[in-house]
């Protein structure tokens, strides 16, 4: 542990340079930062759980040191990478679907469709 510096506070210090504002309401910028950090931390917890599961497949009891020192082999590394990739695709679904909607520009609303079908 680093004794002389408040490393937790210093880790999150702001970089010099005005931050772009991406949304009209700055609260949305802030909320997204918090959400992204949480999305990252859930991924971290899931990976930790995966580590525990894999360690327990090999022996009955494990220590925290076992978890900290775990290194996946190539196969396990790929499986865990897939897990993360699949997780990200799930949480980003809305953004990805908005992208697909861009390609389908001009789609009628369901209300319009409802009227069309009624009159067909």
């Amino acid at each position: 542990m680093s004794e002389e510096i408040d490393w937790i506070a210093r880790a999150g210090t702001k970089a010099k340079g005005k931050r772009p504002q991406y949304f009209e309401d700055p609260a949305i910028d802030r909320t997204l930062s918090i959400l992204m950090a949480l999305i990252g931390e859930v991924s971290v917890m899931r990976e930790r759980l995966d580590t525990i599961e894999r360690l327990l497949e090999d022996k009955d009891t494990i220590s925290r040191a076992d978890i900290e020192n775990y290194e996946p082999d190539t196969k396990a590394g790929r499986e865990r990478g897939m897990l993360t990739k699949e997780y990200i695709a799930r949480v980003m679904r809305g953004v990805q679907q908005d992208m697909e909607a861009l390609a389908q520009a001009g789609e009628p609303s369901l209300e319009e469709l409802s009227h069309t079908l009624r009159d067909m």
């Binding site: 680093s2 580590t51 978890i67 290194e71 990739k85 980003m92």
Partner: protein, 400 residues
């Protein structure tokens, strides 16, 4: 599912003797970011072009009766597009998280890291720091890459936090594309020169703006008889760079704190190879030509000048691609990126005394252990600005 689609785990990164030791969750944070960055480029990157083609461009043409005339006009209208805004906001957060994640890991163990670096640095004449060298204004204006303190920051005098943090996170921002030691650029230079000039044995090589030396160490190891000098203005990065290089056995490599705009202590014609890797875009409009001129001055006749960078903007490059390549300039604290990529580098080299008929441009792709680290996508799905492939702008200095 090809290997290309999934970054290797962070545990595949080589933990050289001065590398920060990641805890389980710290490695997992970088695994998340590496995957997330890949997803942002490969799965969502195309959305920006879709938004442009489907609604931004038609609306612009309708309003102005013409298409946008440059990348700046595109940026101004794209910054109003809700999809592009959201994509940018996500990506900016990824950059900020990478910094917090790296700094948290490094600062937690800073005592140990400083002690390890001291073991390699104390009493060795291969590291020369000079407190008289000031941080240039173009380096202190903002913290580049959103990296708090930039390359010259210190948490306490004499520490290596800046270098260790930079080293630790290269994996995440490039999704593993630079290889186990994040030195795919330097490895590519070695491979390129061995093909280009088989058997060539440069006596002296000069690397400008070396930061943590990750791209010069491969050259030092490939040419063990060559005297190599790497300079930078940032002492904290040099302390880490030197310890890192020594721990990897690059003993023919000397790190000197010096501003490349004025290298008066080096004689004319005294190096056989002068180079930069991903450095020119961190300068300023006046510093860049000065540095190339100084580099050409110290370069020996018949010697090689080489600059690795992302591709320059040209008339052939579509304006939309120029706009998307500009993302880092305005969203990731790279204030010189946009103007640098529009400069006429060949002309600047001519003015430095390196005529066009001695110049060349070539493509260079990161050389990595492809059984573990993926080859990166170019073109469609590329993470513009971070792709592990570059253009090399070079020249051989005329002999007479």
């Amino acid at each position: 599912m090809s290997l290309m689609d999934i970054p290797p785990p962070y545990t595949a990164v080589t933990q050289h003797p001065v590398f920060p030791k990641p805890g389980h969750d710290e490695a997992a944070r970088f695994n998340f970011l590496a995957n997330f960055n890949k997803y942002m480029a490969a799965a969502l990157g195309a959305g920006n072009k879709l938004a442009y083609d489907k609604r931004i461009l038609p609306a612009f043409v309708k309003e102005h009766g013409r298409e946008p005339k440059d990348r700046f006009e595109i940026r101004r209208v794209m910054n109003k597009d809700p999809w592009h805004r959201f994509w940018s906001a996500l990506k900016r957060n990824s950059m900020e998280m990478r910094q917090q994640n790296g700094r948290s890991m490094v600062l937690r163990q800073l005592d140990e890291l400083d002690a390890k670096a001291r073991q390699y640095n104390e009493g060795r004449d291969t590291l020369r720091l000079d407190p008289k060298v000031l941080v240039p204004r173009y380096q202190s204006a903002v913290d580049i890459h959103c990296m708090p303190g930039s390359h010259h920051g210190e948490e306490r005098p004499g520490d290596v936090s800046a270098g260790a943090n930079y080293d630790s996170g290269l994996f995440a921002t490039t999704a593993g594309g630079l290889g186990a030691l994040s030195d795919g650029g330097g490895q590519a230079l070695v491979e390129w020169i061995k093909k280009e000039r088989p058997g060539w044995m440069p006596k002296r090589i000069l690397d400008l703006g070396c930061t943590i030396g990750h791209n010069i160490v491969p050259l030092a190891l490939a040419f063990p008889e060559t005297e190599i000098i790497a300079i930078d203005t940032a002492a904290p990065s040099l302390r880490y760079a030197h310890a890192r290089a020594q721990s990897l056995g690059a003993n023919n490599l000397k790190f000197v704190q010096m501003n490349a705009e004025d290298m008066a202590e080096f004689a004319d014609d005294s190096f056989d190879w002068v180079q930069t890797t991903m450095f020119l875009h961190e300068l300023s409009g006046s510093a860049l030509p000065k540095i190339i001129k100084e580099g050409a001055r110290v370069l020996a006749p018949g010697g090689l000048m080489l600059h690795l960078e992302q591709p320059q903007y040209s008339e052939e490059m579509p304006l939309f691609e120029q706009f998307i390549r500009d993302w880092d300039a305005f969203n990731n604290n790279e204030p010189f990126w946009s103007s640098m990529h529009a400069l006429d580098i060949p002309e600047i080299m001519v003015e430095a005394g390196l005529p066009k008929d001695q110049q060349f441009v070539t493509g260079v792709t990161a050389v990595v252990d492809e059984t573990i680290f993926p080859k990166q996508k170019q073109g469609e799905g590329e993470d513009h600005g971070r792709a592990a492939s570059w253009h090399a702008y070079g020249a051989w200095k005329p002999v007479s």
